[in-house]
Structure formats: C-alpha cells, structure tokens
Symmetry: none
C-alpha cells in the first residue's frame, strides 16, 4: 500500500443519541484537534443515525472528497450496531469470523472473571481486507482499510476506548500513510473590547499577512479569541512566522490580550496577585457570588483569596459591609459611591490588600429611566487607590451577571498590571 495523496479528512459520528441532541458529540471535536495538530486538515464532521442506509450514504460521499474517513460508533455487540456491515458493503468485502479477535475478547472477559458469550462471538466477525487493532479498554477492535485511494478507519464510540486506540495505534499508521503538511496554531485571548473594534485595529495586519499565515475571529460575550494559524513545508519557518505574527498582534493590542490558549481570566488574576503577594476579597450585589465562584475554580487560590460577601439587600450592605446609610439614600445601591464603600468595607472586614465590588441591575426587572436594566457599577483596587467604572449591558439576566463578573475581573487585572 502506498502513500495517500490527499491528506484531508472527514469525521463521521454514528449514533441516534447524538442525532436527536440527547448526547453532545465530544469525540468528533477530540479527533479533529488530534488530526489538526498533526497537519491533517478536517474537511467536515458528520453525524448520522444508526440506519445502514444513512451510514452508507455518508461514507460513500466522504470517500469521494477525502483521503481519510474516520468513523466512531456502531461497533457494539447489539443488533443496532451496523458499522461493520456497512464497511463490507462500501468496500466489497465480507464479514468473516476472526479467531484472533475472539481470543482477544475472551482474554479480556476472563480477566474480568467472565466468560465470553454469544454477543462476543458475534462481535468477532470482521470485514475481510481490513487491519484490526486490539482494544485494550473494551471489546470492539479498531479497524483500518483502504478503499480506492482513501483510508477508512472505524473506532468504537465510547470516548475512553476510542482515544486509546486512536492515540497509540491508529495515528502512527496514519502518519506513515498520509502526506502531512506542517501547521502551528496559537490563540490569543482578549477581554472587554468588541470584535469589530479589534478587527479595525488589526485590519492592516490582516490585509498583509505573509504567505501561509491566517487569522480567525472567535467572538464571545466578553472575550474575543484571535486564532493565528501558520502552515508550510518547514517546521522552523512555520513556527517562526507564528511567533512573529503573535508579537505583532500583541504589540498592536497591548494589554487587551490577557493570555493564550486555555488561560482563564481568573488564573491570570491569581498569578498577578501571587506575584505581587496581595490578598483579595470580593463584595458582590448583582453578580451574587459569581465572581467568588470563578476565583475559587482556580486550584490553590486560597493562598490569596480570603472570601467575600454577597450583599443582596441594602441591609446587608450596611450591616456587613459598613456602607453608609446616607450614601444608599442619596446615590442608591447602584452608584459609584456605593461600590466604593463596598470595596473599602470588604477590604477592611476581610483584612485584604485588594478587592472587587459590584452593584447593578441584572434584570429583567428593577430598571428605571435613569438606571436601566444592565447598569452595573464596578470598583476595583484597595482602600486607598480605587478604580471605578460603569458598565451598560444589554443581555439577559444570566449573561448580564456573567459578563459583569468577567469584566470586573478584567478591570482588576488591568488595575494590577498597570499599577
């Protein structure tokens, strides 16, 4: 068998539970990132039902456009598992009992103190003309065959079994058979600035990207991620181009970029606090504990984080956070003055160097013409130096809460890093 000339792939997920939206397909995303990292471009991902006709159509279509087709699912021992029958149909092979596969399965079952049964015997019929790969975490073997000038791989649907087979057994074979392009990817994370504004800042750079580099936008409510991809024939050039482009984007955007890859705002804030040996407490009204929750998702954060107060009523703002009654009366709970006093109060009560205080109207009710739903005041800093900002959000209650919380964390990040 020679090299396959087209290194483009299609991933096919087989299973009714995914098709009706009951189960989220995490296999396709995992497979895709594994292939992408190795320079194999995924053309499309496809989910079809357990019906033979649908599976057959999907596989035939995919073989026409891709040099690699990876299927997951439909390899179980029950009658609704039809993948092997379909593989036989599209490859003109037939199902034959494999003593070797039956021995694998029997050995596995006996290790668990069980005897193989009729269903395992049925599971040992394999399509002729395919290579089999032993499943070390379950009973369904992996399979790899060639049809015309494409490779087809079939893997079990259980993620834990599929991943082991793919990583240790299938990928090494694929890398030998497929012509792979060299690619490197980096994702820069920004917070607090809209995609359209960022895009304007980067429009010159985007218009003049060197050959092999591409830039993609991944917008969210609070964060916009910028993905840079570099491709080419030479690993060193590919990585150098990516590094240079990253530096240029970071130069243009400055501290709008808070991290890369999977970094979270709360982790970045924790790193800043740790480096500066500062402690933190939070005083939350409308965010209702969301900021504290984000912070406490970070392992080991107790080194800096003391805790906080959810002051959902004015009474609690007064009594636990020492906000002045006069301030609440004159300026209202949603005001610069109140969040300043909440911040001072929580830092003093919890004995911390820094804090975050938030008060706002998350909705759907509680808005007024002067202070509509989505008005949120944030104060960050300490007792002495404070930065206060007003946000105007227009999402639903849940997202207003989440966005306020993330923007408040981002404000603390900027306060700490610019300080």
């Amino acid at each position: 068998m020679g090299k396959i000339t087209r290194a483009k792939a299609v991933i096919i997920t087989i299973g009714d539970e995914i098709l009706i939206g009951q189960t989220l397909d995490t296999n396709a995303a995992w497979l895709s990132s594994q292939l992408h990292q190795r320079g194999i471009e995924v053309l499309r991902m496809l989910t079809v039902s357990d019906e033979e006709e649908e599976m057959e159509r999907a596989i035939r279509e995919s073989l026409k456009v891709a040099g690699l087709v990876v299927c997951t699912g439909g390899l179980g021992p029950t009658r609704d598992d039809k993948t092997k029958e379909v593989l036989c149909k599209v490859s003109d092979e037939k199902l034959v009992f494999s003593q070797e596969v039956f021995d694998w399965i029997s050995e596995r079952k006996r290790q668990q103190g069980k005897e193989p049964n009729e269903l395992h015997r049925r599971q040992s019929y394999m399509p002729t003309g395919f290579d089999y790969f032993r499943n070390n975490r379950g009973t369904a073997p992996g399979m790899l065959g060639e049809i015309d000038d494409s490779i087809i791989v079939s893997l079990p649907g259980v993620p834990y079994e599929m991943k082991e087979l793919m990583t240790n057994q299938i990928i090494p074979v694929l890398l030998e058979k497929l012509p792979v392009e060299i690619a490197a990817v980096r994702t820069l994370l920004t917070a607090g600035v809209a995609e359209s504004e960022l895009a304007q800042e980067l429009s010159d750079l985007e218009d003049n990207l060197p050959e092999g580099l591409s830039l993609a936008w991944l917008p969210g409510h609070t964060r916009v991620r910028i993905r840079l991809t570099s491709r080419g024939d030479d690993r060193q050039t590919v990585e150098q181009n990516l590094d240079e482009c990253t530096v240029r984007v970071r130069e243009i955007l400055g501290d709008i970029v808070y991290g890369e890859g999977d970094d979270s705002l709360e982790e970045v804030v924790f790193e800043l606090l740790k480096n500066k040996q500062l402690s933190l407490a939070v005083a939350e009204s409308c965010t209702g504990g969301f900021i504290a929750h984000l912070i406490t998702l970070v392992p080991g954060v107790s080194a800096c984080f003391k805790g906080g107060v959810v002051a959902y009523s004015n009474e609690i703002k007064r009594e636990i956070l020492d906000v002045n009654e006069q301030t609440l009366k004159e300026h209202g709970a949603v005001s610069a003055e109140t969040v300043r006093e909440m911040l001072t109060g929580v830092c003093e009560k919890f004995g911390t160097d820094t804090g975050i205080a938030v008060s706002g109207i998350a909705g759907p009710d509680g808005g007024t013409p002067e202070k509509p739903v989505g008005t949120v005041w944030v104060a960050v800093g300490g007792v002495e130096k404070q930065h206060v900002e007003k946000l105007r959000l227009n999402l639903n209650r849940k997202l207003n809460i989440e966005k306020s919380g993330l923007l408040a964390l981002n404000m603390l990040r900027l306060f700490l890093s610019r300080d």
Copy 2:
C-alpha cells in the same frame, strides 16, 4: 408558498473553530433536540469550514435529501464570514443592501451608545428572495428562504442569539410550513439519586409502556432527567397518554422529582421559600459562591435571599461567621460541627429564617486519608432545626464544586418540603 412534504432536516454548523476541535458544537445538539421534540426528524448534522466551496457543497448535498436545512454561523461582520455569499450562489439570488437591516443594527448600536461602522454596513447586505428576522440579541439577522422544494434557514452562530431567533421567530414559521407528526414530550427532573436506582424503581413501568409512549434516560452528574415521549395521530390521546404516564412516574418516585422541563433547583427552592415566607442566607467554603450564584440567577429572588458569606479561610469563618476557634481546632474546617456553626452564624448575622452551609475539599490538593478530596459537609435549616449530611464525591475540582452546590440546594428543598 405551500407546505413542504418532507419533514426531514439537516443541520449544518459553519466554522473553522469547531472543525479544528477548538470549540465544542453545542448549537447542533440544541437545534436537533428542538426539532425532534416537534416531530421533525434530523437526518444528519454536518460541520464544515468557513470556505465558500465547502459550505456550498454541504448545502447543495443537504437540499437534495432534506426538506429543511438549518445553518448556523458565518454571519458575522468580518471577512471570513461567507454564509450569505453562499446562500446567494445556491439560490441564484444576489446580495443587496437592506436599509431596514441597517436601521435595526444602527438602532441596536445606538442603544449601546455606539455608532454603526463600515462593518455594520457590510453586514446589512442581504440575499434577495429571503425573509429576514430581526436579531434582538446581536447584529446578524436570521434568514429563511425556499430553494426547490426545501426550506433553508440561516442563523448566527452565537448560541444566545441563535436560540432566541429559532425559538421565537423561526420555529413558528417552520411548524406552519412542514408536515409534522403529533408528538408531546415531557421531561421530569430528579436530583440526588443515581440512574441505576431510578431505573430499578421504574423497571415495571418501563416494561409495560402503552403503545406510542417511550421513556429515555438523560443522566448527569447530579440530576437525572427522564424524558417521556408520546406519539400518535390524535392530539387529545397523545396528551392524555403523556399525562397519565407522568402521574405514574411521579407516584413511584415521590419527591425525588423536583420539577419538569426547564425548572431549576434554585427556582423550586425559591418557590418553597416564597410560599412559606422564609428568608435565606448562605455560608460557603469549598463551593466558593457557587450556591449564591445559582440562587441569584432567579429573577426576583431578593424577596427571600439576603446574601451570604464566602468564608474561604478559617479566619473568616471565625471572624465573620462566629465559628468557634475550639470547633475548628478539634474537628477541623471540614466537619459536621463546623458546618452547623457556619449555618447558625450566617442565619444570625444576616437575620434569616433559613440557610445553607458547606465546607469540604474540592481538590485537587488538600485531601488526607481520613478526609480525602471530595469529602464535603453540608448543613441546611435554621438556627433551631438543622439537617447535616456528608457527601463523598469523586469528580474533578469544578464538578465537585458544582455537584456539592446542587446537592446542598436539593437538601434544602427536601428540608423545606418535608418540614
């Protein structure tokens, strides 16, 4: 325009970030379950890149097999958003500037205190021959058109925008145009009991379901959802069968069932508190604000919820919640005694009738042989009557936090409803 005769659908997700496995596609699963619940069968789900050629091929293929094609993504203002160009190609229409759409976008931007820019003008070009639907949560409108004898729908990829457009604007139009089978679906929600135990309780009922009724299990870490589907030719019979089955499941499971459909535990707890005119405060250590966050997601909850304390250090447990120094020394922060005192402390400080207190080890570090990671103590009730329980969890940090929080809320629910 008449009725479409084939009520089968294809869902197409457009976006490189999904295709390279960077982002998990939750839109397709959500759309699929929405269509499934309304009797529209989804034939396949398909993910393709932002490349025009790939999108065009996917749409053309799908139109051949389905009466409905729903696309998400590729409608943003940036250069890599090509969906509208492709829709024009496959429908032989052209892109024309729509003053109406530009006015929607401009109005939306001005509400945010911003002016529309060049990118928004670009986003206002729409394919002729399509109906547009105003996006109330973003700038990209939804679109619906007919090509040959199929309907094609194009929605933005941001889930929050997509869901609003689909639920309130697109689905009503689809139900008019597509031939749908009569189906009714109800989902019963349970918390705190494992799927295998629930399945044993319901095994008799499951074995003897009447014609047209089916039961599906949707397990999660804390909640198990039980979905009942009733199908038939006659609306009245379909609904009556569903009602009868619901009553039987509720009889068997009792107060393990906390609600239906989209009910949340926090809403149910709020209803109980409101009906009994009780106030609530929370004292959280390992859950770090997550419980307060869940509770404050409920609109209007300030009628009962006063707030809480995140006591992430022993110092704060002592000083803000009045936990005895001796208790912490003798029994440790993760103990029945400490959560009892935290509960009493927060109820007294916040002047509330009821409270929740949680202290535990979320991991990954901090465990000991006697108190391994995943040990969590919960107290619910008031100053006088308290219910205390120990949980032993074995998930990762994030999921240990979430599960502790939900189980603690469920304990308060049972405490209040059995009281």
